[in-house]
Subunit: 333 residues, 2 copies
């Protein structure tokens, strides 16, 4: 809104454009995370919801709906739905990963216990479906229940593929879609659906969210080996320590010799790591251009995200979404 | 169907009446629990789904639909939905309770790990919503998303009420509804909804499921202090060891003297138990008539379940459902 776009980052621009909507989303989230009888529920939820994430997913839903001319209020419900699904998966992820910190704060499983994280996640998931039902749109329910299944399937796949050096790029991409892209895609798509956009536009929004999510996750996976551990919220070396077989590892392994393969096998497959191993792993992914290749893939997906916006109306929000795709990969430039 | 009803138990009669439907449900369950990419999912699910539970919840859905004259096939989807929700909650419960055995077999969290149980539960929950969406009934989605929220809220409430001797009977009843009655009620109600039954009949089915579920859970809670540990699947003393404040404890505590209160405080609130404490706990609930009172409550709810069936059509399935309410409490006679 007449702001200096050269200094404001795209997700901040989105948040400003959609400020009134986002306020309504936050009110609805606070209302629906309440539980008269089980105060543990809002305690745990507030810890995460109010930790100050970027709220990218609900912003995508709001932006998609507004971009397609929506004037109703169901997009508020859908944005809250998407944030609840995201929060539920974070709660369960932290149990699965045995995480101690998220967004620079202790995780809920550490502050309360794993039990609370599992059950409060289930509650939020159920609440998200109640919100969807209120929109009266079976198509929205179809899209978001499919996304939920893809997310859970991707998480199981990630679990069983961990420490498996035979993991293919195809499996990696499937995990990435489950972890990140499926909810980005659904978040954008339901915004278009509720706005009554054309099928071309809805497909464009879905394609945008999918490609943006993949790009976003690939950048995360890049930073795990190539970042500076500079407080972006990502801890350098986490994936290595957890034995996740991400794109940098897949590429470095494919290009490595027998000695290097033995190194990866010991560290990832056998989970026998010494403190100095991370430095060698980082050197190997650099040496074989695996980091660069990961960045190039992320860039290509960002390009796909921008291109997918073509059928959408000419609107300042479209330009911001396009900038957002660039911004996501700018972290690795 | 012409079988000797005096020797066949009501749930077996239900299963025979609905044999063809139940076969279709089992085929659908096996189809939908599959995951092309994550074979861990059907492994974990099959372990539970094929453990030979009584399938009471899907049978309730099928019976309700058939009793109301339904001739379509959505009741098959809804019965599978209900079984998936139940299986998902069992997977998450076993993580929360740190259980080692269920239905006489090692639990999934023991055979695989907590992570798999959490994520496969999430997957089944998402799959259950996909199945509901296929019925095209927003009312069904409304009922089952409400039930899911009640279940999760009840579980959190049970978690925070554990070891809390100030737990009231009202809170106890809320936990019982969450644990058992909410899904029984929804299972029966959606059968009526999909069949296009009258509002009176739908309310009757819901009331039946609710009262049956409460009665069922109270009998379980009775058996934890009054059972013989005879392989019914219930382990005598589990609730006592886990510090669950169930109706027998609430009633015995209310009637006890200062010395007894100190005993309950040490064992339940402070979780300091000796092997011989269970015998004293069992003696106390007997001495104060707390076991008898629990049985009487269960009997009263079974009576309510039978009465709730009044608006339903005169049909052999109605008689079997009525017998089922008696049978559930017969375990404590």
């Amino acid at each position: 809104m007449g702001l200096d776009n050269t200094v404001t980052r795209p997700h901040e621009q989105l948040a400003r454009w959609l400020d009134a909507d986002m306020t309504a989303v936050n009110v609805l989230i606070r209302d629906r995370m309440a539980s008269e009888h089980a105060p543990r529920i809002p305690e745990v939820t507030a810890h995460l919801v109010e930790a100050g994430g970027k709220r990218l997913r609900p912003l995508l839903t709001l932006a998609a709906a507004r971009l397609c001319g929506y004037e109703g209020d169901h997009h508020i419900r859908l944005a809250a739905t998407v944030e609840f699904i995201h929060t539920a998966t974070l709660l369960h992820d932290d149990v699965v990963d045995e995480s101690a910190r998220r967004r620079g704060r202790p995780t809920a499983n550490l502050l309360w216990d794993n039990k609370s994280s599992v059950l409060v996640g289930d509650y939020l998931f159920a609440r998200s479906f109640q919100l969807m039902v209120e929109t009266g749109s079976l198509r929205v329910l179809d899209i978001l229940s499919d996304a939920s299944a893809t997310i859970a399937e991707g998480e199981v796949l990630q679990l069983t593929a961990a420490r498996d050096l035979a993991t293919t790029e195809e499996t990696y991409l499937r995990v990435v879609r489950g972890k990140t892209a499926a909810l980005f895609a659904a978040a954008a798509e339901v915004g278009g659906v509720i706005a009554g956009a054309t099928e071309d536009q809805i497909a464009g929004l879905r394609g945008y969210g999918d490609a943006l999510g993949i790009s976003f996750q690939m950048v995360d996976d890049y930073l795990d080996y190539g970042g500076a551990g500079d407080g972006i919220g990502k801890n350098l070396g986490d994936d290595f320590r957890e034995g996740k077989v991400t794109l940098p590892v897949i590429r470095a392994l494919a290009a490595g010799d027998a000695d290097e393969r033995a190194f990866w096998t010991r560290c990832i497959a056998r989970n026998r790591q010494e403190p100095e191993d991370l430095a060698r792993a980082m050197a190997l992914v650099r040496k074989h251009g695996a980091l660069e290749a990961t960045r190039d893939e992320a860039l290509a997906w960002a390009g796909q995200a921008r291109a997918a916006l073509a059928p959408l109306p000419d609107h300042p929000l479209r330009a911001i979404l396009s900038d957002l795709a660039d911004y996501v990969v700018a972290r690795v430039h």
